[in-house]
Symmetry: C2
C-alpha cells in the first residue's frame, strides 16, 4: 500500500519532471530490487561517494561497515547524507545522438543517519542487510559474535525525504528524425548471477544451497 | 603505460588498505569497463549523489547533461565533486556472516569539473561519451545540431586525485570457521546485454547493426 508523499524542493525531479516518482511503494520496489547503494557525505567541504550494500526494513534503510572506515566514522557524526540506488535496465538508441538515453530506475534519499546501538536492534539490522542481499543465508552461516559486532557499525537512514526517477520504453525521437536511416531501439541490460564457484577449501560433501539456485535480482 | 601516482590523504584507502590500487593503468581499465558513474556534489551543505554516464579520454573524464539539470547547474560553479564508478563482480559467501563480502572494482575521483565551452572540444567530448558507451554508434546516428549543442552542457573532470579499490577471489574465513558446515564461495555477478529490441516505429528494412552484436561490457 502506497502512502502519499510530497517531494521537497531538494528531492523534486527538475529535469524531465514526468519521470519523477514520489510513490512510496514504487520506491520500495526499486530499493528491494537492488542491494548496492552509493552514499554521499561531506568532509572538509569535499563530497565523497562510496559504494556499499544496504538493506531495507519498512521505512528504514540500513548500511553497515567497519567502525574504522572513513564513511562510517563520518556518518556517525550525524551529518547530512545522500543515499542513491541505481538500477540500469537498458541503453536507449535513438536516431539522433541527442535523444540517446538509458532506461533506469533510481532512488535518491536525503537525511541524517543515526547509529544503531541497542544490541537486539543492531543484530536485527544486520540480519535485514544479509537477508536483503541473499534470503536464507543468515540462518545458514555462522552468526556474528560479540567481537565482530563491536567491530561493525550499523547506521539507519529513515526513508523520509526521497524521490525516484524512472525511464522505460523505446527511444523518443524528434518527429523529423524518424526517417533517418539508422537502427533505433533498446539494448536491455541486466545484472545476472553466474554459476556459484566453490571456495577452494570447501568440504566436498557440501552442496550449493537451494537459496542460491537460481539467484536473481529480477523483481 | 602506467604512470606513478601517490594518493592524497583524501583518496588513500583506509579500510582494508591492501585493496587500495593507485596505478593509473588499472584505474583506466576500470573506468573503461563501466559507463555509469555516481557524481557527488554539495548544495547548501547537503550532499547529492546523481547517476549519470561518462566517457574517458586520456586523463580527462567527461560527463554531460541538460544545462537545466540540478547537477550540471551546480557543477558549473566550479565546486568540489566526487565521481565514483563501481563494477560489481560477485557475492562472496564466507562461513561466518561477518566475513561475507563482495567482489568489486571501484574508482573514486576527487576534483573540480570545468565546463567545456570551445565548440570543437565540446563536440569531441560528446563523441568520446558516445563511443565510450557504444563504439560505432556516433557515426551511425544523426549528429547534434546547434540547438541541441546549446541545450547540452559538457563538463571535464581531470583524473588527478584518485584511488581504486578492488576485491577478487574466494571468501577469507577465520581459520577456526573453515570446519563450519555451510557452503562457501562466490556467486559471480555480471551486467549482460539482452537481445536488442526494435523501436516500434523502426523501418522494417533496417537491421540491428554489427556494433550491437554482441554488445558486452566484459573487458
Amino acid at each position: 500500500m502506497s502512502q502519499p508523499h510530497t517531494p521537497t524542493a531538494r528531492t523534486r525531479v527538475i529535469r524531465e519532471p514526468h519521470r519523477g516518482v514520489y510513490d512510496r511503494a514504487t520506491v520500495y520496489d526499486i530499493l528491494d530490487a537492488g542491494f548496492l547503494c552509493h552514499v554521499g557525505f561531506v568532509a572538509d567541504g569535499q563530497p565523497f561517494v562510496i559504494p556499499t550494500s544496504y538493506g531495507r526494513q519498512d521505512a528504514n534503510l540500513y548500511v553497515h561497515g567497519s567502525a574504522a572506515s572513513r564513511m562510517l566514522r563520518r556518518m556517525k557524526e550525524a551529518v547530512p547524507v545522500c543515499v542513491t540506488v541505481t538500477l540500469l535496465d537498458g541503453l536507449v538508441l535513438a536516431r539522433s545522438v541527442f535523444n540517446h538515453s538509458m532506461n533506469y530506475r533510481s532512488v535518491v534519499i536525503l537525511g541524517t543517519a543515526s547509529l544503531v546501538e541497542e544490541p537486539a536492534e543492531k543484530l536485527e539490522a544486520l540480519r535485514t542487510l544479509s537477508e536483503h542481499i541473499l534470503p536464507g543465508r543468515w540462518d545458514d552461516a555462522r552468526q556474528p559474535n560479540q567481537r565482530e559486532l563491536k567491530q561493525t557499525s550499523v547506521l539507519c537512514l529513515p526513508i523520509e525525504e526521497f524521490s525516484a526517477k524512472v525511464r522505460t520504453g523505446p527511444p523518443i525521437d524528434d518527429e523529423e528524425d524518424y526517417s533517418f536511416p539508422t537502427w533505433a531501439g533498446v539494448v536491455p541490460l541486466e545484472m545476472v548471477a553466474g554459476t556459484p564457484i566453490d571456495d577452494p577449501r570447501l568440504d566436498a560433501k557440501i552442496d550449493v544451497p537451494a537459496y542460491l539456485r537460481p539467484y536473481s535480482r529480477r523483481r
